[in-house]
């Protein structure tokens, strides 16, 4: 409970650890300053510092000459490394071979690294890096969606979902409407920037501490550039100071450069990007233009939707295949399209390579669908919520544009109905209408929007996870799994699951750093799936050990297995009770294995991309938000007055952590749609490469009245770990309600006219929309 809002969760289930609102596993260390991030690790003696060098005047061009002698001559410089110093492949891309570690012939974006300086201090390396003499023959860069469309340049082939006959639908619909929306990207601004510390070992081994959401991929890429087997490289991640998708693939490059430097010098090497370099060099959320066309009947029931998604991917493919697919998967939001064409283009531009960002393309697709709803409601003069509900998935109208059936639509309806009630939506709509009628300058808006987010990686093979659990003879437990901790509370949730299995308190479970030598070949911690996957793998490992203990104890003490239970830090064997440590010691003496690996692969997913058929998602997570805003039509300033959220996390593993994810996701989504604006100049240089020019929400931007409630769920109908639901990404899209509320406020200026507002709705964009609304009223 907090004074300026509410945070409510249903009562916990009758379990000891699972379902409890325990604080983050590192909470005490975080508040004491003793939690160790990569940059806090005490540097081994002789550690050198690495800084990438790049051409500050070039966006796209042919490298004519690169003179690094002045760099080498700088005091403190130990080595300068370029493409020729890479023993293996000059490639740090996740898959397609289109991202060189150092550009060799052509520069493809402003900020692309050409070399790296290794020096005794960071300062020396930074100064030296600027001394390179670089001659580039400029080529005209493609910067915008329109540039890329005109040049017909893509990083990957186009892709589409087709349902029914959209052509016939559009030809025969009684009413047609169309529009276009531009959606800005977003800088991750993980508060801890990209950082790696590579420590060379014997026999070509390399140990790398890094801040990566995908340690296995980091390991494989380091092995690729070093030309050593994967087994020679070990990557460890204890925690990240935020990731948000920005360290899913984007951490690899820096870890690989640090490893090359360590190999070249034989000394430990640390690379921590300066914040400006970080913002300039790493990819961001994809920006889009979405062109839409829809056919509907007189009541506003959708008949057909044709949506064209143009994503600006940057210079390489990176994760754009999956990101843009997910935009397509969410281009329906929560609405039934009888006939549909969802088409996408992955456009190539000479800008940083856009990448994963919480929601992974889903938010952009969903935003476009919600814009269609808002625009259509204005045209028809109906309440947007009524129009939304009319078009919701329901029995018999439940097949998505990609052919998957939406089974849990009752949850969607229940959440929206409950929130409509609890937020007092109808009464406030009326109040706002009368407020707006009597307020010439300040205009209010209110919107209630739904979220339906598909859970599973749409790249099927990523839906697997491993865990490693050891029980020691003192009863303490070592827990390890392939998931990474970036603040989302994954480590604590998985520890709660393991504690539950052994009937012990959390202090008996030692949480350990993600380590490629303990659990190999893992997927990234992404797609909100960290707990679903790793929690299940850890549960399986713990169960394996417990089952061995039960079999042993049943035999030794002659009690039936079902009379053996693990609870309250002890083991009950019929009448007898002992500690877990005592039982472990006895089992050890009897030569019972007290260590187990667990493995889990998500069932029931069958997506086949080439044929665009099958089931991509294990289940959907649902939520809804109702936001009220006030817009100042003289200045374009906007304030979020109140937000009510009802969100479905299934049966919560940890309500406190889940509520934190919902609040944080909402705030981040609100930043994306309101204040966070990325600006590239006409030469392709990012002008917003520091927090002074890129506006991230602060405490004063958070809604004054912020009410977050967990939906009282009977549990996920799909068999997830303790019937919980994923929570990392879906809340980002709750912030669409803010964007829609701004649209609603603008619409009040001239009823029936469709406002012209792109994302983000900065004060400038709002003012622009206000002026065009006023002009259309005058004209």
């Amino acid at each position: 409970m907090q004074p300026d809002g509410t945070r409510e969760a249903p009562a916990a289930a009758a379990l000891a650890s699972v379902g409890q609102s325990l604080p983050h596993d590192s909470a005490i260390r975080h508040v004491s300053g003793s939690a160790v991030y990569v940059d806090d690790i005490r540097e081994p003696a002789g550690t050198l510092h690495v800084v990438p060098g790049w051409a500050r005047d070039a966006t796209r061009g042919r490298i004519v000459s690169l003179d690094l002698d002045p760099v080498r001559a700088h005091p403190g410089v130990v080595a300068v490394i370029g493409p020729a110093d890479i023993p293996g492949k000059n490639d740090v891309s996740p898959a397609l071979g289109d991202e060189p570690m150092f550009a060799e012939e052509e520069i493809l974006f402003w900020g692309q690294p050409l070399f790296a300086v290794v020096a005794t201090t960071r300062e020396a390396a930074r100064h030296a890096a600027r001394k390179a003499r670089i001659e580039v023959e400029d080529l005209p860069p493609l910067l915008t969606v329109e540039d890329a469309l005109a040049a017909d340049e893509t990083v990957l082939p186009d892709y589409q979902f087709r349902k029914g006959s959209p052509e016939t639908g559009l030809a025969t619909a009684s009413h047609l409407m169309e529009g276009s929306l531009r959606i800005g990207g977003q800088e991750h601004f993980y508060l801890e920037g990209q950082v790696s510390l590579a420590v060379p070992g014997e026999d070509g081994d390399m140990f790398v501490h890094t801040s990566s959401q995908h340690p296995s991929e980091t390991q494989h890429i380091i092995a690729r550039v070093l030309a050593v087997p994967d087994a020679a490289v070990t990557v460890e991640v204890r925690r990240m100071g935020g990731g948000f998708g920005g360290k899913e693939s984007q951490a690899n490059h820096w870890a690989a450069i640090a490893a090359i430097a360590a190999r070249a010098t034989g000394r430990p090497c640390k690379l921590r990007l300066d914040r400006d370099d970080d913002m300039i060099m790493t990819g961001k959320r994809h920006d889009f233009r979405v062109d839409w066309k829809l056919g509907h009947d007189a009541e506003g029931l959708l008949r057909v939707v044709d949506m064209r998604l143009f994503a600006r991917c940057g210079y390489s493919a990176d994760l754009s295949l999956g990101v843009v697919d997910r935009s397509m998967f969410h281009a329906d939001s929560s609405y039934y399209y009888p006939d549909a064409m969802i088409h996408s283009r992955r456009l190539k531009t000479h800008t940083c390579s856009n990448t994963a960002f919480r929601g992974f393309g889903g938010p952009q697709g969903m935003l476009a669908a919600e814009r269609m709803m808002d625009a259509l409601a204005i045209r028809l003069g109906v309440d947007p919520l009524d129009l939304r509900k009319r078009n919701f998935y329901r029995e018999g109208r439940d097949v998505t544009p990609y052919g998957m059936k939406v089974e849990e639509h009752a949850t969607l309806h229940a959440i929206v109905d409950q929130l409509e009630e609890s937020s007092d939506y109808r009464r406030r709509r009326q109040e706002i209408a009368s407020f707006n009628a009597s307020s010439p300058i300040l205009k209010k808006g209110l919107a209630l929007t739904p979220v339906k987010f598909g859970i599973s990686f749409t790249l099927k093979h990523l839906n697997q996870a491993g865990a490693l659990v050891h029980l020691y003879t003192d009863g303490s437990i070592h827990l390890n799994h392939g998931g990474t901790e970036m603040g989302q509370g994954l480590f604590q949730k998985v520890a709660q699951i393991v504690a539950e299995e052994f009937g012990v308190t959390l202090d008996k479970v030692k949480i350990t750093a993600t380590h490629t030598g303990k659990v190999p070949n893992t997927g990234p911690t992404a797609a909100s799936s960290g707990t679903d996957l790793n929690g299940m793998a850890a549960k399986i490992a713990a169960e394996t050990i417990r089952n061995r203990l039960v079999a042993f104890a049943a035999e030794r003490y002659q009690v039936p297995p079902d009379a053996i239970s693990f609870a309250d830090n002890s083991v009950q064997l019929g009448e007898r009770s002992m500690t877990l440590g005592e039982l472990a010691r006895e089992a050890h003496l009897a030569r019972i294995q007290l260590s187990a690996a667990g493995f889990y692969a998500t069932p029931n997913i069958t997506w086949d991309r080439p044929s665009a058929s099958g089931r991509p998602f294990f289940y959907f997570a649902y939520g809804a938000a109702c936001s009220e805003v006030t817009v100042d039509t003289m200045t374009g300033e906007m304030r979020v007055d109140r937000v009510d959220i009802l969100h479905d996390v299934g049966r919560s593993l940890n309500p406190a952590i889940d509520i934190g994810q919902i609040e944080g996701g909402f705030v981040q989504g609100m930043g994306w749609l309101t204040t966070e604006e990325l600006v590239w100049d006409d030469r392709g240089r990012l002008r917003t490469h520091a927090p002074s020019t890129y506006k991230i929400p602060t405490a004063s931007d958070v809604p004054e009245d912020f009410r977050v409630t967990l939906y009282a769920s009977a549990g996920n109908p799909s068999p997830t770990v303790y019937r919980s639901k994923a929570v990392g990404e879906p809340p980002v899209m709750l912030a669409i309600s803010v964007f829609s509320a701004i649209y609603d406020a603008l619409a009040s200026l001239n009823p029936g006219t469709i406002p012209d507002l792109d994302a983000p709705a900065t004060p400038e964009a709002i003012l622009h929309a206000v002026l065009s609304m006023k002009r259309s009223r005058a004209g």
Binding site: Q2, G33, L191, R239, G487, A656, A699, S700
Partner: protein, 173 residues
């Protein structure tokens, strides 16, 4: 490369450049230190690299995120934007110095109780800033706290918990 202009609290001795010597005497969390920092070294780098006090974080190194907030003679300062050499004679408190005799400071406890953290990277700065915010008398209401804490970015968006923790600790103080 130009030296970043220093902003922050400047102790009386440092204002008169004639008294500036190579030796810097500061007290950090009650422990006196005699140091000879590079004159261009920020207070943050001296804390993290010379004194191994890594609890204070480097988020942006340009004074815009608040992750490096410490108290200099009781006032909050972003330590990345001020030169260590300017603080001769100063008493500095970092996150490591907040707990007394193994007891967490009430604001540290409140951050845990109200879930005012996720990834934790902003947390030391938030807490140091929060301690000062309360001491300045700027923690009278959640609204006032939101305003006076707006120099500390939390990218995880743990603001509701942060504001609740400061409100709670201010009431108990």
């Amino acid at each position: 490369m130009a030296v970043t202009p220093a902003v922050g609290t400047i102790s009386a001795a440092a204002q008169d450049s004639s008294t500036m010597t190579d030796t810097l005497r500061i007290s950090v969390n009650g422990t006196p230190h005699e140091l000879t920092p590079d004159p261009r070294q920020s207070l943050l780098d001296v804390l993290r690299e010379t004194l191994d006090l890594t609890g204070t974080k480097k988020g942006c190194n340009q004074g815009a995120c608040g992750a490096c907030t410490v108290l200099v003679d009781g006032k909050r300062v972003v330590s990345c934007l001020t030169l260590a050499a300017m603080h001769d004679g100063a008493e500095i408190t970092t996150i490591e110095g907040l707990a007394k005799g193994g007891e967490l400071h009430p604001l540290q406890t409140a951050f845990i109780e109200h879930d005012g953290l996720q990834c934790g990277f902003c947390t030391p700065g938030q807490i140091m800033s929060g301690v000062a915010c309360i001491a300045e008398g700027h923690a009278g209401s959640p609204e006032e706290i939101r305003f006076w804490m707006s120099g500390n970015i939390c990218r995880c968006g743990a603001y509701p918990g942060i504001v609740a923790a400061i409100t709670d600790a201010a009431e108990r103080a």
